[in-house]
Symmetry: C2
Subunit: 269 residues, 2 copies
């Protein structure tokens, strides 16, 4: 079997321990190309760089392994990795291992997961890995065997079109990881509490802070799985349509009078 | 009836003609607070500012109308608008009018729509408005009556929890707008073609360019509605779970050998 080509990125930057661990795992599975941000890009979500030129810096070039840093966002890294470095779609894109959970609503803010979604828009099977531990000194070794297993599964079976995977791994504890659960995104959110300060010139400024709040403790959610020491795998889509709300919104029966005086009723699809 | 409080933001910046038009419409419907970026923030998606302090600048303070600029992203503007300026949830958040379409996959990159999604995470009814015309000199007057109609509908009826609206308006043409269609997001994407250049020091750099490609011309999509001169209203959700893929991924039957030598099979929810 031909060795698969695997593109790796993250949002914590090319030197973060999480991506170094992920590179080590993926080099056992295929030829690896890394294109990762040259500085931390957390909370950059799906931002792309349109007002500045992008640059790539070759860091390593070995047999079956190339590594680049990039001055852009994680999504820029995927675009440059496929269109400029590889000039083709890889067999797999992996992102992470993020230092911090991307379960529940965190996925919306995450640069790690935006890179994964970007790959799936381009029809590339893609997986994001995150560890529920923000520390730079987080331990990843308990996760390695599971990451390899999930990546091998996706390389073997592929993923449905427009679907990517969001994998969240519990922080290491005295208890061993119990296994893998396929889940849905829990309905949690961040409760913001801005830190208001006054600068030496008497002007207010604000730092975003906040606490994560999750009222959704149902079994079947990513948060519930992690709380019970399982690895949470959420299949994700970039189709944001709330399909089951279409009929509700159609009941609005928008009626609009145009300038010519006719009444126009909205068209039901 | 008590006048509703309406929070307005955008991603083109507080002085863009699109938001000025939207402010004019919303002031007819309620008390208005504007918190919008002090500079263009297109393609910022759901990015938030965590490494820099945020500042608000009061621009206007009239009866029933306050306007602030902010140095952050559109999502920062919604957070500051609700938590610092209003210190409560408004009755409605509107974003735009964006200079350029946010139909189909554009919604994933859009700062305008990220602001709307952020509001809906906070359980505030929210609508994003975008015009399919990138020009700074775009004409908005054909859209005004429809924008008012849709905002009034949402103020009257509310929206289902976790659902917000993405409204895309065709560019003005000789033909009159035919009406409003409730749609799903079309399966289009951007085909990137980086503009590669060499700087005076001999180093490559890259500008993101690209063409939007949409193979999905079905009736019922936002793109089809706009092509036929209808206003497209897509109800949207921040639950990215691909619910119908959960059973497929469960078939992977991940089996992982842990260090203690036990075989662990993934748990079906």
């Amino acid at each position: 079997m031909k060795k698969p080509t695997i593109l790796i990125t993250n949002d914590d930057g090319v030197n973060a321990p999480g991506i170094r661990t992920l590179i080590g795992i993926m080099r056992k599975l295929g030829d690896v190309v890394v294109v990762a941000p040259d500085s931390p890009q957390s909370a950059q979500s799906h931002a792309i760089t349109v007002s500045e030129p992008l640059r790539l810096k070759l860091i390593k070039d070995e047999d079956g392994y190339r590594e680049f840093s990039c001055n852009g966002t994680p999504v820029d890294c995927v675009k440059l990795g496929t269109k400029i470095v590889l000039r083709k779609n890889p067999d797999l894109v992996v992102s992470g291992i993020n230092h911090g959970s991307n379960a529940s609503i965190n996925v919306v803010y995450s640069g790690t997961m935006a890179a994964v979604i970007e790959a799936s828009i381009d029809k590339i099977p893609a997986i994001g890995f995150s560890l529920n531990d923000y520390s730079h000194h987080a331990k990843f070794h308990h996760a390695e065997i599971f990451i390899k297993e999930i990546a091998q599964g996706v390389l073997l079976r592929g993923l449905p079109e427009s679907v990517c995977l969001n994998v969240n791994i519990p922080k290491i504890s005295n208890e061993e990881i119990k296994g893998i659960r396929v889940c849905r995104q829990a309905k949690g959110s961040w409760v913001e509490e801005f830190d208001e300060r006054v600068d030496p010139r008497g002007r207010n400024y604000y730092w975003i802070t906040g606490v994560f709040s999750n009222p959704d403790h149902q079994k079947g959610t990513d948060i519930h799985a992690m709380e019970n020491n399982y690895i949470a795998v959420v299949p994700m889509s970039f189709d944001l349509t709330a399909h089951n709300a279409i009929s509700y919104i159609n009941k609005f029966d928008f009626v609009t009078e145009t300038k010519t005086g006719f009444l126009i009723q909205n068209q039901k699809n």
